[in-house]
């Protein structure tokens, strides 16, 4: 089988410092997205374990797999978790969830934890949609806008390009800067049209990296137009898979003239993390 360049690595992680058996509230969040699914487990609000994998064609199964994989490195069982919150596109399909919460609220809450309470504007560049969110110091949504009618400016678009150019998805960010000069963005951000445009540019003799640069700036521009509607206030942060793509992030920063916040956390888990944080509050509420 030919190499699938869009395929990113799935992974799980566990904290070495936390003894979950000593915890009072164990909450989990499961984010079943259009492209990837994540599961996050918190012990008293501290990040204990998480997983990130591709969503399959079966949503309940994807939710189950993501949860199992987060649990895999630990000796915790699903029964030990007090409260599970489902979020994302497939949130109604998380069979073991106590409650479902929209991913907009979860991303705002997750970003507040990840980037600190100075985040006011947030863009989630997910697999198949883009969400521009304004939130307050508690991570509560103040203004939001979601675009899920078209895949322009999303991770899926970047996957299509990685495949077209035969470049691994993990490398496209760096590679888009290995160019002599910054090209004009591709004129269309629609993934289908942009792909035909890119094919033509390749036939015209453009090097791969230059085509990549042209698409990355088109993607950045597309997101900026979404942000303009809700307004951009500092601090600004990006969540989702594209936050790991320096080619898009740097071009986006340049266009809006604001630095994005940096985090040591995995930006793809923001939704599941927010869900788990809500789970903690809801578990404590239920106990009272």
């Amino acid at each position: 089988m030919a190499k699938e360049f869009w395929r990113w690595k799935e992974y799980n992680w566990k904290s070495e410092d936390i003894d979950w058996k000593g915890g009072t509230t164990i909450s989990a969040g499961v984010d079943v997205g259009s492209v990837s699914s994540q599961s996050v487990i918190l012990v008293d609000g501290e990040l204990f374990a998480y997983s990130n994998m591709r969503t399959g064609s079966d949503s309940p199964m994807s939710a189950q797999n993501a949860m199992n994989w987060a649990l895999e490195k630990t000796d915790m069982k699903l029964e030990n978790i007090h409260y599970v919150v489902g979020t994302g596109y497939g949130r109604v399909n998380v069979p073991f969830a106590n409650k479902t919460i929209t991913e907009i609220a979860c991303h705002a809450r997750g970003a507040n934890f990840m980037y600190g309470n100075t985040v006011r504007t947030l863009i989630d560049m997910g697999g198949q949609d883009c969400k521009a969110i304004q939130c307050d110091e508690k991570g509560k949504v103040v203004n939001f806008l979601m675009n899920d009618k078209c895949a322009a400016g999303t991770g899926r678009g970047m996957e299509v390009f990685a495949d077209l150019l035969s470049l691994s998805i993990e490398e496209v960010g760096e590679l888009s800067f290995q160019i002599d000069e910054e090209p004009e963005p591709v004129s269309s951000t629609c993934v289908i049209f942009a792909k035909s445009e890119a094919t033509r540019l390749l036939r015209d003799g453009w090097p791969k990296n230059k085509v990549l640069a042209a698409y990355s700036s088109a993607m950045a521009h597309r997101v900026v137009t979404l942000l303009e509607r809700i307004g951009i206030q500092k601090d600004f942060a990006i969540t989702g898979g594209i936050a790991k793509n320096i080619g898009v992030v740097n071009r986006l920063q340049k266009e809006i003239g604001i630095e994005t916040l940096k985090t040591d956390y995995d930006t793809q888990i923001a939704g599941a993390l927010g869900a788990a944080l809500f789970g903690k509050v809801l578990a404590e509420k239920a106990r009272k």
Partner: protein, 95 residues
């Protein structure tokens, strides 16, 4: 909270905006909409509060340009039934 329901595509920006600080969930906007676009539901964007708000139904969210078209033939934009009926001025349209 400002909630924008709708989308942006090649033909323009189509958003119905509900200001939840103004909306009290009274539901006056629901019967006046000929296309049945709106509903009152829990404010799902603030899961820890339990207030009700007007919102665009999920099945209309990605096609409101077409769902709302009957009221848009009128030149006087800003006087669509849902906007006019709302005494709290909680509803606006982006187009």
């Amino acid at each position: 909270m400002i909630a924008n329901f709708g989308y942006k595509d090649g033909s323009g920006e189509f958003f119905i905006t509900i200001d939840t600080d103004k909306c009290n969930g009274c539901g006056d906007c629901i019967p006046v909409c000929p296309a049945g676009v709106l509903e009152v539901r829990e404010n799902e964007f603030d899961p820890l509060a339990e207030d009700q708000m007007a919102a665009v139904k999920e099945e209309h969210r990605k096609k409101i340009k077409y769902s709302c078209a009957p009221c848009k033939s009128d030149k006087s934009s800003g006087s669509e039934p849902c906007i006019s009926v709302c005494e709290l001025n909680a509803i606006t349209h982006s187009w």
